[in-house]
């Protein structure tokens, strides 16, 4: 295993006023250049874990080191090297795709011709050049997802956090998104990814962690997990085996 780029030790998070902790002492190590899938049912603690890693809110206790820097004391520096693609379409609907990307690019410290070139490159890669000057509110769900992704990778981050990046998109858009994410990973980008889409995760992730009730209950490559549990031929079987078939809120 390559050198760890994210190390999590006993991460614990209890929201104010909540009876139960959302994350209960997770310990995890994610290697450089990995595509790590954090999988779990609704309310398992995936988004809370990723939100802490992105600096959206502080952990109640525990220790996180990202690229050799302690998260609590180096948040600004860590924000420079991470990219975040939230589950919501975090774009301004009345601005065009180009205007949105120009704004977010500046917020990452990019500017001038360098920023323009990156915007044009990614718009072209994701087939959005022609629609670049249209308002995002006029886009289809798939187009919005693609712009949402570009906004998180414009600055070429070392680590990319993706919270269900392909939810609600058609197969074509999903294939394009996954294909480019794999390309970015091959270029050295570490990807931390959450999804409910087990088949996608199985093909996309180099390693997965299954989280439930705030704990990591299984960890390994999809193949390792399939082999580990009897009668499981695919990641979805493992997931259902470990998290039960009962409905979750």
């Amino acid at each position: 295993m390559e050198q760890s780029i994210i190390t999590i030790e006993n991460l614990f998070k209890q929201f104010k006023g909540a009876d139960v902790a959302a994350v209960k002492g997770i310990s995890l190590s994610i290697a450089k250049n990995e595509i790590f899938g954090l999988l779990g049912p609704n309310g398992a603690g995936k988004t809370t874990t990723i939100s802490i890693l992105c600096g959206l809110f502080r952990q109640s206790s525990g220790h996180v080191v990202i690229d050799g820097m302690d998260l609590s004391s180096n948040l600004t520096a860590i924000k420079q090297i991470i990219g975040v693609v939230p589950q919501d379409i975090a774009l301004y609907p009345t601005l065009t795709a180009r205007e949105n990307l120009d704004f977010y690019g500046h917020m990452y410290g990019l500017s001038g011709k360098d920023l323009d070139a990156k915007i044009e490159k990614w718009l072209a890669n994701f087939g959005l050049t022609e629609a670049a000057n249209k308002r995002v509110s006029e886009y289809s769900g798939g187009m919005k997802r693609r712009v949402n992704l570009i906004a998180g990778i414009l600055h070429n981050p070392k680590i990319l956090f993706l919270d269900e990046p392909t939810v609600g998109v058609d197969v074509q858009s999903r294939n394009v998104i996954i294909s480019y994410l794999k390309e970015l990973n091959q270029q050295g980008m570490t990807i931390v990814y959450t999804s409910h889409h087990m088949e996608e995760a199985e093909h996309f992730c180099t390693r997965v962690g299954i989280i439930d009730y705030g704990n990591i209950i299984a960890e390994g490559t999809p193949l390792e997990l399939n082999n580990k549990y009897d009668g499981c031929n695919k990641l979805e079987d493992v997931f259902l085996h470990l998290t039960n078939r009962s409905l979750r809120d």
């Binding site: 600096g55 959206l56 939230p86 919501d88 975090a90 704004f103």
Partner: protein, 430 residues
């Protein structure tokens, strides 16, 4: 840093320019308000300042007192004098009916023989003074009194009535003094015949004290308070504070749409993003200000309304309008931070501005408010601003006069920003 701030400003401007409803709220609504409110209030201010209150006068006396009161009322700026209806002189009963019908606010009747009654009273007073007979002093008490009738429309303000009745007392007292002087002169003339003509003329030709009402102002000219001088600054301030709606709305949208989540994961401070909003909305407020002043300077006169007088301190106007812009923006940022939904932001923003503007004297000037409300008005930042504009536009003051108000508005801005920062920290510290 500068690049980020410029990008934040550019983004805010683009969002604002594409929000047609927001633009209408910011620019068209206040312009309409200025037109409507000024036209509505123009007649009320006119009755106060220009034409005066409509008065119907009945002179049954047809002698010195009646003519003196008639001349006095005709020449008074306080009232609009009438002694005829449909070209005919009227009786006391007709005057009473005209007031009851709302055609006039006040009716004044000087009764028949009023001057004679005064004359008789004075004559007996003087005679008693020159007489050695002590019994005559009791006679004066038996003289008929003069009863001047004043019919009042219930809507007439007490302050107008006080002015009218005090003027009447002054006329009656003047006539009484004049008659007394004449009677004394006549009595003296009988004792010293060579002085008789001189003394009576001396009184008639002398007017020692004269009065002129001038609005206290530091300018050389006289700026009369009118609907334009009140409404243009008042509704401009209201419009500037109404940016709370689009500003708070845009902040709530960022939260709901998820942009704020992404921005919190970026290496840019939240303050920088807020600064982008503040700069844009302060500029918007200043544009609003220029537009609203243009309405007062160029458009209202086209409707026959007075031209807005900007006083003599452009620097003072800039200082108070800039401080108002900051206060309004700070209030908007605070509302946008507190509100969780767009509806919450709109309702809280609109209600708070309506309340603060009502208290602050935007709808009704503070000088016509009851004492309690007037004391409350000093709590409203809109009042600090409006008072500054009154200093500049009505009292003709300079920049120094508006500094205390401007400082209060800037402190209000800092307080609202601090509250917004605390609320933001509290919300993120989940």
């Amino acid at each position: 840093m500068i690049n980020k701030l410029v990008a934040a400003i550019k983004k805010e401007m683009l969002i604002l320019l594409r929000d047609r409803i927001g633009l209408a709220i910011l620019f068209i609504m206040p312009m309409i308000l200025i037109f409507v409110m000024t036209l509505i209030q123009d007649s009320a201010f006119k009755s106060l300042n220009e034409k005066g209150i409509p008065i119907i006068f009945v002179n049954e006396d047809k002698d010195s007192l009646g003519y003196a009161v008639e001349n006095g009322l005709r020449n008074s700026d306080l009232c609009s004098f009438n002694d005829q209806i449909n070209g005919k002189y009227i009786t006391a009963d007709e005057a009473k009916k005209a007031v009851a019908d709302g055609k006039f606010l006040v009716g004044i009747v000087i009764p028949k023989n009023a001057t004679n009654a005064i004359r008789k009273n004075v004559q007996e007073l003087v005679e008693s003074a020159f007489s050695t007979d002590t019994i005559t002093t009791n006679k004066t008490q038996s003289v008929d009194s003069v009863e001047v009738k004043i019919f009042i429309d219930p809507v007439t303000k007490k302050s107008f009535l006080t002015s009218i009745s005090s003027n009447l007392r002054e006329f009656i007292s003047g006539i009484k003094t004049q008659l007394m002087f004449k009677t004394f002169s006549d009595q003296l003339g009988e004792l010293i015949p060579e002085k008789k003509q001189m003394t009576s003329n001396a009184y008639n030709n002398t007017q020692i004290i004269t009065y002129k009402e001038i609005y206290a102002s530091e300018t050389m000219g006289e700026i009369v308070p009118n609907a334009v001088q009140h409404n243009v600054p008042a509704w401009t301030i209201f419009a500037m504070f109404f940016i709370v709606l689009p500003l708070a709305g845009s902040m709530v949208k960022e939260k709901i749409e998820g942009s704020i989540v992404r921005l919190h994961t970026m290496p840019s401070s939240f303050l920088l993003l807020i600064n982008g909003k503040i700069i844009v909305y302060v500029i918007v407020c200043l544009i609003q200000f220029v537009l609203m002043m243009s309405v007062g300077l160029f458009f209202l006169p086209m409707l026959g309304l007075p031209v807005l007088d900007l006083g003599n301190s452009p620097l003072g106007i800039f200082v108070i309008s800039l401080a108002t812009a900051f206060a309004a923006t700070g209030f908007g940022v605070m509302m946008g931070t507190i509100a969780k939904t767009e509806q919450q932001g709109a309702i809280m923003g609109a209600l708070s501005i309506l309340l603060l503007s009502a208290i602050g004297g935007v709808w009704v000037p503070t000088y016509v408010m009851p004492d309690t409300m007037r004391q409350l008005s000093v709590l409203s930042p809109l009042n600090w601003s409006l008072d500054g504009f009154y200093d500049l536009l009505l009292r003709g003051a300079g920049v120094r006069a508006v500094l205390p108000g401007a400082i209060k508005l800037m402190i209000f801005f800092l307080i609202t920003m601090s509250i917004a920062s605390l609320v933001n920290r509290f919300k993120r510290n989940v």
